[in-house]
Amino acid sequence: MEKLKNFFESFIVIAILLVLVQTFLEDFAVLAGWNWDIRRNFIITGFIFDSLFTIEFLVRYFSALGKGQAGKYFLEGRGWIDFLASIPLLLLNSGPAFLSLLMGGGVVFGLGSMLNILKIVKAIRIARVLRLLRILKIFRRIKYTGSVMAQRHITKINTISITAFVTTLFIFTLAGGYLSLPNPESTAAERYANEINTFIGLSNVGGISAEEQAAVFGAFDKDLLIVKDKGQTLFSRFDNPTYSLLFGPGDFAYFEKGSWSFFFDIRKLLRIQSVYNLLFFLVVIVLVLSYLVYYSPHFALTVTDPVHVMRRGFSDSSYNLEVEIPEKYRDDDIYVLADLYNKEYLTLKQRSSAERGAGPTMSDLSLDDIQDLLE
């Protein structure tokens, strides 16, 4: 059972590492304009990973529930991280993307909801930042210090800052849509609406054929992909093989008004969001690395190391090493204590331990070393 549990934990750690790579590459693929075939694989793997982590959360949650410890798991056992980094992602991000993939195309929206379409697309993509919370899951599994206190403190500060960062981003982005803040989506939506209205208005005037009018609009707006009237294609920027190669279901917006249909290329908007996502990803990685590489040694130097030395000195009668006090931290509480330890305790300890005929001190040997003989 223990072996199975260890295997499961190791498997999850590997999965977290892989999903971080996947998250980075998925956004990078959008930014770099990689072909749809490649990007489709990232959507599928993202869905698989999110499903896996959802199952992991449910297994852990119901296992804890069975033991009457669901609350403890959720609050103290970091179940909330397991939750945030699984179910919302499956519902808001990879699930819809995967469904869209299965349906083989985008969803038809009316012109009035144009902005909403783009907001939903954005919300779906911004939900991806929740994936970054998975770093916390792996962070707490790394044994980067021998001190339980250091591990707990650094994990805590890491959790607070990354969770605060990710949730603020998530909430701000979601709420931002309802606050009518200027953003690329609303600008694009306004432009598409104007363009569609102008196109339909001009088509009623006459004097120029609908095909010619669509070609002119296409020449001016590089985002306009296809214009159709009553199902007949009047303008298409690319041929079908090119669409298959470059475009996925989420890469274009499709609008209908009267007998007219319009397809717009929204990959530029997706690229902008990918730039932000990559930026968020890098911020989180830099934060984690900073805690591991800079703050963790600093915490050890200024807190756990002097405590460890003093603890050994108090408990081991043959251990007489002084705490090394760095000049710039001399006034820190811990080093004020260490100074007392050096000057008062060790001084008296040297006198008492030198007493001739004193009783036995500690021994580096333990009964465990000769357990086979004792058995």
Partner: protein, 305 residues
Amino acid sequence: MNNEEEKATLFISRLLSNPSLNYLSPLQKEDQIVSFLELNSEQLYATLSSPAFFPGKPWPEIISILETRLRSVINSMVDEGLKRFLFEKIDFSFLSGYGKSPGQSEMLIKSMYTFILKSLKTFDGRKDFGGSYNALLCKLPSRYINAVFGAQSYIHFELTKVQRLKMSKEEITNMIRATLLLRPVVHIYSESVHDRSTGLITKQYSDKVKASIKKDLPLVPEVLLSSAVDSNLSFEKYKFIPTTGRLTSIFNNMARTIRPNMKIDRGASSPEKSWLSVGRRNYKYYGWDIKMLDELYRFSLENGW
């Protein structure tokens, strides 16, 4: 070797082979094992009184058998090291400055060897020798005398102008090494004559011991004898203690707590620096020369010792 001794030897060998003792000197290993036996007497008695070991014997008898075997094993280890120091590593040519011919020096070394072995039979002599032996293993004399000659400060002045040693750096180092080995012989003449908390002896006892040693070791030069015996006196009370004696006292006490090749915890000072720092605060109590401790502390700081 009878059956019981064989079992005791096997048990002791097993303990001695423990990797956690690898970095200790032989006498430190002995201390560790004695502590281990005493601290775990209850659990060990259950096993050691079984038919596989010493059936039916009470614990005091068992521990006596084990400690006797332990001392015997450690003695052979120490004997080997002592011979190496006396006959190979320490250059006694400094004795020629005191009118000793090579033949006399050789005789002196042999009699010193016998004397030192005698001191190992006493509890306090053994403790004292542990410090001296470890000081040599850790190369304290050579390292610090080298620094003393580099700094040409207080200790150098005391050695060359006050004690007036007309010797080279190497000769002084060898003299201190020899002093360290000779120091425990004060315990041969009477056990427990010192202050139990500081290990210091009185001037009267020091004079008595010197007179006795002169009879038993007639070839030992006065300067070496005074250094070794008076190193057990307090410098606070007796300002005449030779510089080499004061250094010997410090090296001997310092080395008792130092473990060769000890892994130093992050955030802790080195063993030598720690000991010298604490020693500077206890100098009155133990009768050490504070100026000497200050200088040695500075060397440990500068050299990362």
